[in-house]
Amino acid sequence: MDKPFAITLDPGSSLANRTGSWRTTRPVYVDRLPPCNATCPAGENIQGWLFHAESGDYENAWRSLTANNPLPAIMGRVCYHPCEGACNRQNIDAAVGINSVERFLGDEAIRRGWQFDAPAPSTGKRVLVVGAGPAGLSAAYHLRRLGHQVAIFEAAEQAGGMMRYGIPKYRLPRDVLDAEIRRLVDYGIELRLETKVSDLRQVMAEQGFDACFLGVGAHLAKRAYIPAGDANKVLDAVSVLHDMEEETAPMLGRRVVVYGGGNTAMDVARTAKRLGAEEAIIVYRRTRDKMPAHDFEVEEALQEGISIKWLSTIKEAGEADIMVEKMVLDENGLPQPTGEFERIEADSVVLALGQDADLSLLENVPGLVVDHGLIQVDAGMMTGHPGIFAGGDMAGSERTVTVAIGHGKKAARAIDAWLRGERYVAPPKHELATFERMNPWYYSDAPKTVRPVLDIIRRQSTFEEVLGGLDEHNALFEARRCMSCGNCFECDNCYGVCPDNAVIKLGPGKRFAFNYDYCKGCGMCAAECPCGAIKVVPEEN
């Protein structure tokens, strides 16, 4: 077309006008730290593995998960999921059921026999791990994955630590526990059961270990002084739960009293019920809001018919009953005796008053510092003695499986660096992906899927798992409720809302780039990014 001068123009000639020069601020793509990731004691990249789960790519999701945590099927049952407590989605409807999806992935992996990613090439180093509880298993896994040779020495008959000897079957079925442990053994980790370490230094020197991780746990029950006519009647929670793994279950009688207010007390009381006790009564010296046990544990216990006697302490244990004293909270919230007493029928009393670590194996090791029964470690989980690291219940007061797994990973990284004569320095953390930085409008309304709960009768009489898992549809649904806080999930919003076509779509999996030649810095992309993965910064010039 021989176009008339000036009146008629060729298409697309506006590209010569680089409107990027208008900017005073510019958008940049950022990756922010989602609160779930930030809170997870095991340091999982939750948002990362949910991303894979959402598209049904469960194996990649599991691989992403197990890059940090080797025990997802277990975690999906026993973890207290602080991630869900921090999840931004609760500001819309309810937190994402991260725990349920983790369990689904763990179970799926067991079902399909997935094995861990191949370990790094052998480093030639040998590391001893004492204790096959969660801390030890985690440390062993990460060390192996980094290419080291690992041997776990476990004093008990079976591996698992508190996962086996503390957590009841109705919370963690043993076949699941066994499967995840077996996978670790198949990974090339040497596991020596019924192998107690009495003298650490000797063992290390004799067997040529270059470093050591201690995860011996805390399985010495604390005792309180209770005058008892029949000493056999007063038991401790640790041994009761331990003995649940034996051939014959412990005999607790028809009326069981559990003394204490923690999760262990709940576990024992619920176990007692299942063993046939007509009544399981928890005696606790303060009130419900002061109880250290997690609220849902208390709830489940109450549903199962456990009764709780608040503001009470046990004065003495008689033949067929106990005497309790009523307490009252003073202005500091501490229980004070009132002088009022009551007798309660009881066939046995189980003390659940806390646990201590058995540190006898460390007697000859110089440089260690022990405080309040806990071994002191630095940020890299190293004790006062170089080359000896520790984690789990023996090294911290937040005693959960998840924390222990996190300790194991941290220690493994530190050990790996130490073996090379270096120091592990964690990379700096990204900015937090807070809810205020997001645009939640774009998330569809999707209420949380409720996991199926076993009916009360079955709960009271069997050790079947109380809380069921999600089937694939629901796990997928739940995974897709994740808002991907702070991390681009390719929703195309920025690409779509830019009035100047200044966002370039790079392709599936490759996200986007800004075309700064034309970007005017209006900031609409950042405002409409659902997950808050775009930041507006001042223009340099």
Binding site: M1, K3, P4, F5, A6, I7, T8, L9, P11
Partner: protein, 420 residues
């Protein structure tokens, strides 16, 4: 084929022969018969492959034509007076965009006061908009000019107005020779646009042009009209060879070779003027040395041709059906530009405004005076001085003198021109 038909009908049939593709119709006297005829032809299937659109205003009429023309269709509409003014924004737009629309203007006076009869004030008010303006002298020339107009417009990519006197030509039944379709097809090829809205070759038409290029665009429009000055006579000649008659061209002279006085005019009044001049040349009537110059192409204005036509005369009279309020004559001013430096004496005569009849008697008296150079520079032919002076007195006497038109009508006693 010879026919005795109304001027409007003749134009409609000629336009139909040109194979228009889009016709926009909005009624206004005195062009309405043209679009009515075309509408009938389309509806009954006599005119095929043509979209006939009843638009809601003249502004819409020109706008629809703009859209249609930009999309590559041969487009046509007709209007007059108020209607032309109502579409002025679009008229300029069509010219500025270079769209070859052809429009009939059935010349009519512009209000206020509202007047439906003939004068040239409407199209002349648009003399600067960039459209080519051709004035027909007879019904035959009116229909012929439309055929030439399409060809001219499409060659140059410039819209063309064909002006014909409202009522005098549009509503007169005269004998015309209507061409055949084959003849028109031989003369007028299908429309090949210079620019077109085509998804296969997208362009943006109608950009905003700033100071850096606006002058150039306007110059190019002017240059195009200069091109037209050459092309118009050529087209008329080509027309002559196909249709075997003389129609169009820049201007036409009548007995001017030896004339001392030349009368210049446009449109149908030329017929009356020629009759007058014929009589005046007779020895028994004084044997006046007087001739006539009829301007056909008003825009572009044929400066050189006019100068050439007036080369040997002593004086000229421009008789126009138009008035430039505050200065005098419109056509006269253009003519004066043509004869600058030629030392001629010129007289402006404003006649026939609002359809007032121009009689042989009045013209004879007028021209005689002109030959004696006894005319004022500007003369209003047959002005009723009594009524005018009475009104001036009235206005001097009272502030609330009332509407001028109503006052004059009371004095004059009838509305508009009397035909006698």
């Amino acid at each position: 084929m010879l026919k005795q038909i109304e001027g409007s009908r003749a134009v409609a049939e000629a336009v139909a022969l040109c194979r228009p593709e889009v016709i926009c119709a909005y009624p206004i006297s005195p062009q309405t018969h043209i679009v009515e005829a075309l509408g009938e032809m389309v509806k009954e299937g006599a005119l095929t492959d043509c979209e006939y659109i009843n638009v809601e205003s003249e502004f819409a009429a020109m706008s629809v034509a703009i859209g249609a023309s930009a999309a590559g269709a041969r487009s046509y509409t007709a209007t007059a007076s108020q209607g032309l003014l109502f579409m002025v924004e679009a008229v300029y737009n069509a010219a500025g965009l270079g769209l070859p629309i052809v429009m009939t203007v059935a010349n009519r006076a512009i209000g206020a006061p509202i007047n439906i009869w003939n004068d040239h004030s409407d199209s002349l008010s648009q003399r600067d908009c960039g459209w080519i303006q051709l004035f027909a002298e007879t019904n035959q020339e009116a229909l012929d000019l439309h055929i030439q107009a399409f060809k001219l417009a499409e060659e140059l990519s410039m819209p063309v107005m064909v002006c014909m006197d409202g009522f005098i030509l549009t509503h007169a039944y005269e004998r015309v020779d209507m061409p055949t379709q084959a003849q028109v097809d031989a003369y007028l090829p299908p429309y090949e646009p210079r620019q077109v809205l085509d998804p296969n070759e997208p362009v943006s038409i109608g950009a905003m042009v700033g100071p850096e290029a606006f002058t150039e665009v306007r110059y190019l429009a002017h240059a195009k009209q200069m091109q037209a000055l050459e092309r118009i006579p050529q087209l008329a000649a080509e027309f002559g060879s196909v249709f075997a008659r003389d129609s169009g061209g820049l201007l036409r002279t009548y007995l001017t070779e030896d004339a001392e006085t030349i009368v210049i005019a446009m449109g149908s009044v030329l017929g009356t003027i020629k009759d007058t001049v014929d009589a005046m040349r007779l020895p028994e009537n004084g044997g006046h040395s007087i001739g006539v110059l009829g301007i056909t192409s008003y825009r572009p204005f044929p400066l050189a041709a006019v100068a050439a036509a007036l080369k040997h005369c002593k004086r000229f009279v421009v008789l126009e059906k138009s008035l430039a309020v505050g200065i005098g004559g419109i056509v006269a001013t253009d003519v004066r530009m043509a004869v600058t430096g030629m030392g001629l004496k010129g007289f402006t005569v404003v006649a026939g405004l609002g359809g007032r009849a121009i009689t042989v008697k009045s013209l004879t008296a007028l021209f005689e005076k002109a030959t004696r150079e006894a005319l004022d520079p500007v003369t209003f032919l047959d002005l009723d001085w009594k009524a005018v002076n009475k009104q001036l007195e009235r206005e001097k006497a009272r502030r609330r003198s009332g509407p001028v038109a109503e006052a004059l009508l009371r004095d004059v006693g009838v509305v508009g021109a009397r035909n006698y």
